[in-house]
Amino acid sequence: MTTNPATEPAPASARRAKLTASGVDVFYGPKHAIKKVSIDIAEREVVAFIGPSGCGKSTFLRCLNRMNDTIAACRVTGDIRLDRDDIYAPDVDVVQLRARVGMVFQKPNPFPKSIYDNVAYGPRIHGLAGSKSELDGIVEHALKGAALWKEVADRLDSPGTGLSGGQQQRLCIARAIAVSPEVILMDEPCSALDPIATAHVEELIDELRARYTIVIVTHNMQQAARVSQRTAFFHLGELVEENDTSVIFTNPRDERTQGYITGRYG
């Protein structure tokens, strides 16, 4: 009746794992940034990574589509699989991988091009459209998917950088989904947005969940609570605890999680 919840193993997600990380370590030169992290990320679910600054959550996120490859001093060991395929295998085409695992960043970063070209860029380089009308269709579909179509349909030729912050972020989401990814990684996608624009993006995340697997890094715990089904808490490079979001925010098992989410000294 009064058993200690900390002794019971956290239940895994009921869904099939889309991404599986096992024993992942990341080093930035001598710094051991991620320590033996293992996690299953279920398909068509939103997983939130939370934790204090410098805990490694963004670093780990960037392992999931090999964005860390671009940092010379960064070394990743361990095993990360997308649908059982080792994404660090020598024969993996990183550009193809990043089409399957798309990314949205903290600050909206549209290309200095038209709204249309921002979205059409990915489909063009991946050769996804055989004709202009097919490309038009992809762009429209992506903009609709990002809940931006109604606002920009009559000005697709205007520069993407002329949109408001919230619209720019949705444009970046449209750009990410235009190449039909399977997973979308979001690194603090709302931290530069006002509450209304944030609500639009959160609503969009909720809709995107029907088709994509989404991993979101956020400093806003209410946001993690609102948009995710599973939450993972990182601390000093370790994955401390991962569980259903409702459990993490009402009854976390680890003292460190408890301290962080209630705003106490850890």
């Binding site: 009746m1 009064t2 919840p5 715990m221 209410q222 925010f249 009402t250 009854n251 976390p252 999680t257 408890q258 301290g259 989410i261 209630t262 705003g263 106490r264 000294y265 850890g266």
Partner: protein, 241 residues
């Protein structure tokens, strides 16, 4: 537990706790005063007890306000969330207990005008058990003592059994002498009030369990007697009832 980075948050939680503890103290003394008024046939104390219920209502309103403010301004999480939500439930249970105490006091005013019914020691004993349950559950709240809360939760069985036996006793009195019907009916309601106070004490125990452990007390609570559905046949002896 470590303190919050924002100190005023700790202060607000501490104030909520203080209000609830104060409310618990007032409810305890209301129940005890109502039982004294009943056993001593003291209408003045009874009327003072009835008037005293307003203080409990005021304290419940304060808890409600503090909880709403905390939810709106702090968005409490995890153990803090459970503390705040649990406090709301506990305040509402305490308020109900005080209502039952008020009803006991009201009926004791009426009873003090009537010939006493000899009901041996069962009713005062019920009063004692109910008061002990309330005291223990409040101690459990202050000490965050889950084991003590669970003990109160289990003890409700005893109160239910006393209620069932008092029910049979009073029905027997009514059958023996029709003049007993009015006072015995008041006593039946008083017994029911005490039994309900015990039920609310178990609710508080459940809220404490939730606050501390983070899960509901889910096992079915033991039952000591079903007075309200006991069958009494005129002409049968009390033992058969």
């Amino acid at each position: 537990m470590a303190s919050h980075i924002v100190k005023s948050y700790d202060e607000q939680l501490r104030k909520l706790n203080d209000t609830l503890v104060r409310m618990g103290g007032v409810v305890e003394s209301q129940i005890s005063a109502a039982m004294q008024a009943l056993t001593r046939r003291d209408p003045d104390l009874a009327l003072a007890t009835v008037a005293g219920d307003a203080r409990v209502d005021e304290l419940e309103r304060q808890v409600d306000e503090q909880v709403v403010t905390l939810l709106a301004l702090r968005q409490p999480m995890a153990s803090d969330l459970r503390l705040v939500v649990g406090s709301l439930r506990i305040a509402s249970d305490l308020e109900r207990m005080a209502d039952y105490a008020k009803n006991v006091a009201k009926r004791s005013v009426a009873l003090s005008q009537m010939t006493p019914v000899s009901i041996a020691a069962t009713l005062p004993r019920m009063g004692r058990v109910a008061q002990e349950m309330v005291k223990d559950v409040l101690d459990a709240y202050v000490a965050r003592d889950v084991d003590k809360a669970v003990a109160v939760w289990n003890r409700d069985e005893e109160l239910d059994a006393l209620h069932a036996s008092l029910f049979r006793e009073l029905v027997t009195h009514m059958m023996e002498d029709a003049r007993n019907i009015t006072p015995a009916t008041h006593l039946l309601f008083i017994a029911k009030n005490l039994e309900r106070i015990g039920d609310h004490a178990t609710n508080v125990a459940e809220a404490i369990h939730f606050q501390v452990v983070g899960r509901m007390l889910s096992d079915a609570r033991p039952k000591g007697g079903e007075a309200s559905v006991a069958v009494v046949v005129p002409g049968a002896t009390a033992g058969d009832a």
